[in-house]
């Protein structure tokens, strides 16, 4: 039986330029000697929408959207501004809950976005380049059985037919772009609250670097990230999965493969937990695909997830953003209208309106032991 030490040597050797002398050790270990049915585990640290940004914001020729507060402010007389801000003492961030109650009868326009129809239209992405994948199988954006007509992107690498209408929707909103508060805030909340910790478990692994048939399962963890003294996630920690009754609360699986340390899996429908900006969701991402590059030492995995995101769930989140609605910079009514218009996945059989929106996310995950209630001793990580 191969020792753990030899397993580690096998993994380390490719990184050693001067390891020729030990080649016999590597080649001498037959593939069939590797322990079968190994399990690799990862915990997701970062999950952010994949937003392609050009150097001069060319994808948004009319610029970025203005904030809800600004739209509200523009609609007030000088006397009203004084009255609603205690003569200017209440500043932008602190008046968010006043600013969003600007419906005809004082309604919250983020929770009731249809009460207003005269906000400036949302500025959306007009560029041709986006991250993501071809979800519907065509490159011209025409409607299919599971998609509505839309405009496709080309990937930065030149792949045509990229479906990412979520990017088109949010790409010109400051809060969703790089360093924007909406996603930064949501991601940080996941870290500190532990409410939507996503675990990725890769099973049936015979070779951690190359295996043509693996299963990828997604769980929610009930344990939070242990952090080091600088606040970074510590790899190789253990996480228990969220169980409900006799089974995991989440646990959808997709099939895939690992080629030279790159996991590619999907597509399949996967329900995931989401928490951010005080909203807890559990959307199904339909036709989900995942691509993760696993480091040689198995410590880290980075890549992307793409699929059709449940629009209703997504709008539930954006409608309840709270204070970041002000600093995130967009109009809820305009956003709602644009989202409905841009939805491109899974048309409703009765109305023909699409219920999902094509999307892509960047994912950063760390090695983890995923603890099942009944099989803790069988857990392994990428290193083993």
């Amino acid at each position: 039986m191969e020792t753990r030490q030899n397993q580690m040597i096998k993994q380390f050797l490719p990184a050693l330029a001067a390891a020729a002398i030990l080649t016999t050790v590597v080649t001498g270990v037959a593939a069939e000697d590797a322990p079968p049915n190994r399990t690799l585990g990862f915990v997701v640290k970062d999950w952010m929408p994949a937003v392609y940004e050009s150097k001069f914001i060319d994808e948004c020729p009319a610029g970025l959207n203005i904030s809800n507060d600004e739209i509200w402010w523009r609609g007030l007389t000088k006397e009203e501004r004084s009255e609603k801000t205690l003569d200017g003492l209440i500043t932008t961030l602190d008046r968010w809950f006043v600013a969003k109650n600007r419906g005809p009868n004082g309604e919250d326009v983020c929770i009731n976005p249809e009460v207003i129809d005269d906000d400036p239209p949302l500025l959306t992405v007009e560029g041709a380049t986006s991250f993501g994948v071809n979800l519907d199988g065509n490159v011209d954006g025409s409607a299919t059985l599971k998609s509505c007509k839309h405009e496709n992107f080309t990937s930065p690498a030149g792949v045509p037919g990229i479906d990412n209408q979520l990017y088109r929707l949010i790409g010109c909103i400051y809060g969703f772009r790089d360093q924007g508060v909406i996603e930064i805030n949501a991601n940080e909340m996941r870290r500190t609250s532990g409410l939507a910790m996503i675990l990725i478990e890769i099973t049936d692994v015979d070779d951690a670097r190359n295996d043509e048939d693996v299963t990828v399962t997604f769980y929610r963890s009930v344990d939070q990230f242990p952090l080091d003294s600088s606040g970074q996630v510590l790899p190789f920690s253990s996480y228990r999965i969220d169980y409900k009754d006799d089974g995991p609360r989440y646990g959808d699986s997709i099939k895939g493969s690992i080629v030279d340390g790159v996991l590619q899996a999907g597509s399949g429908d996967v329900r995931l937990p989401y928490y951010g900006n005080y909203n807890y969701l559990h959307p199904v991402i339909r036709d989900m695909q995942i691509r993760l590059e696993i480091t040689e030492d198995g410590t880290n995995a980075q890549g992307s997830v793409a699929g059709y995101y449940d629009l209703e769930q997504y709008l539930y989140h954006t409608g309840g953003l709270g204070p970041v609605i002000t600093t995130g910079n967009f109009s809820c009514p305009a956003f709602f209208e644009a989202a409905k218009r841009m939805a491109d996945g899974y048309p409703d059989p009765e109305t023909g309106e699409c219920t999902h929106i094509s999307s892509a996310f960047e994912v950063n995950a760390f090695a983890a032991f995923i603890v099942h209630p009944d099989q803790t001793s069988e857990m392994e990580t990428a290193e083993r």
Binding site: I9, A19, D228, S229, S230, L234, E383
Partner: protein, 562 residues
Amino acid sequence: MLISKVKRYLGQATCVAFVTIALTACGESEPQTGGAPPDMRRLTVEQYRNVVHDVFGEHIEIASRFEPLIRTDGLFAVGASNALITPSGFEKFYNVARSVAGQVVDEDNRAVLVPCAPVDMARADDACSRQFFAEVGRYLYRRPLSESEMETAVSAANEVADQFDDFYAGIEFGLTGLLVTPSFLFIIDETEADSSSSSGLRLTGYAKAARLSFLLWNSAPDDMLLKAAAAGDLHTDKGVERQVERMIQSHLLARGVRAFFEDFLDLEKFETLEKDTIIYPAYTINAANSAKEQLLRTIVDHTVNQDAPYPEIFTTRSTFIDAQLGRIYRVPVTRPDGGWEAYEFPEDDVRAGILTQMGFLSLFSHPGRSSATLRGKAVRELLLCQKVPDPPGDVDFSLFNDPDAPSRTARERLTAHSTVPSCAGCHKLTDPIGLGFEQFDGIGQFRVAEQGAMIDVSGNLDGNEFGDAKSLAQAMHDSPSVPACLTNQLYSYAAGRAPERDEREFVRYLESEFAESGYSLKVLLRDIATSDAFYAVTQPKNKTEDVRAASLNSKTKQERGS
């Protein structure tokens, strides 16, 4: 104390058939020793804490550090015999005493911890004070208070109670006084005349009880032991054996064994252990605490709960881990939110035994890198009782630390460093051992290479070649020096001093008995605790060294006729 040996041997199948032939067929008798002059040992922090918690409850907080003891002959227990209390050290004891006394009499505790209620809370109550100090003083002084000690405590308490119109203020004051007296802070070898002893002296029953209790439980004697002392039982072999057996069966033995190994392995170093968290992000204060706890849990479970052979602590795959250690060892834990769980390293794992645990590996490393030298030195000095000379004052580390040097592994750097003649001698003692642990970094995480170069972990332990840390652990397991060192240090720990010249034969006898028992630590403890040597005292070397005269309570002892 031959009877206990006979009983034990009777239980061994190999000897049963021969027991009628001769006792010597099963074991030799205890060599006679003269003992050492009476001494006094300062309580360690842990002993202080244990005594207070045993007497008043674990909810009493002791939030202070005392003056450190000086590690002598490899043990703080020996250093405790040479401890002084400086004025600032006394202040610390005084502050803790006030805090403890305050907690004992506070409104939440007084009903339970003070065994009587005063007639009037705003006045002194002589009878109730007397009852309190009689009960508490017996445990704190490990003997009944003398009449004058009682009068001192009670009159002080009464005076303060009347002055402050508060009975409990008086109790607090009197208790504070007890907690700062030498009779509490020092374990004193009080003696009495004994015509049957070659020295004409013997330890009092209470002094014997204290020796026993601090050895086996690391705390003051309990009620039963004090009663046995009062009845004179501890001057008989049977009486001692009965108490020793009871104490060894107690769950408190684990506390005593922990205390010994904490001292033996110099685990106090954890108090000041620092690591560069940029290099070792997984190192946190919680991880360090877990590492120390794992060492002690492993050892106590192995030697006490399992009563397994001592040398197997170097090879056992059984241990305990928590979430902190799971990350270091890269194994899953079932309770990531806290708690300990039993764990057995797989047979093919690189780890086995305490020397491959984070505790040893991180304790004997530098803040930013591993250290074959420190690890080898620790093995030599702590576990094999071999002294490694200190480095010369003008040692030149330039070759070792040269960032431009072609050497990438510790072995290469140490080889270059050891070309300096003044360094080579000692490094030959330490490095061949320590290099066997080089596949573990400065906090004990496994690695196969350093700066891109594969790590060679072969080495040599006193002529025994080994190929990796596990075979080094096996070499430790097989080394006769390992149990011999433990025996010597355990006896030193028990006696509070290194063995006297005439006790060497006795220590060899203990080694022999230890081997005969299959290296059972419990048997070794029993042999020490029931031996005559453990209690033997000689006359003080001169009048000025007479601890009875040194004790502030010498007058009161005379009153008791001790």
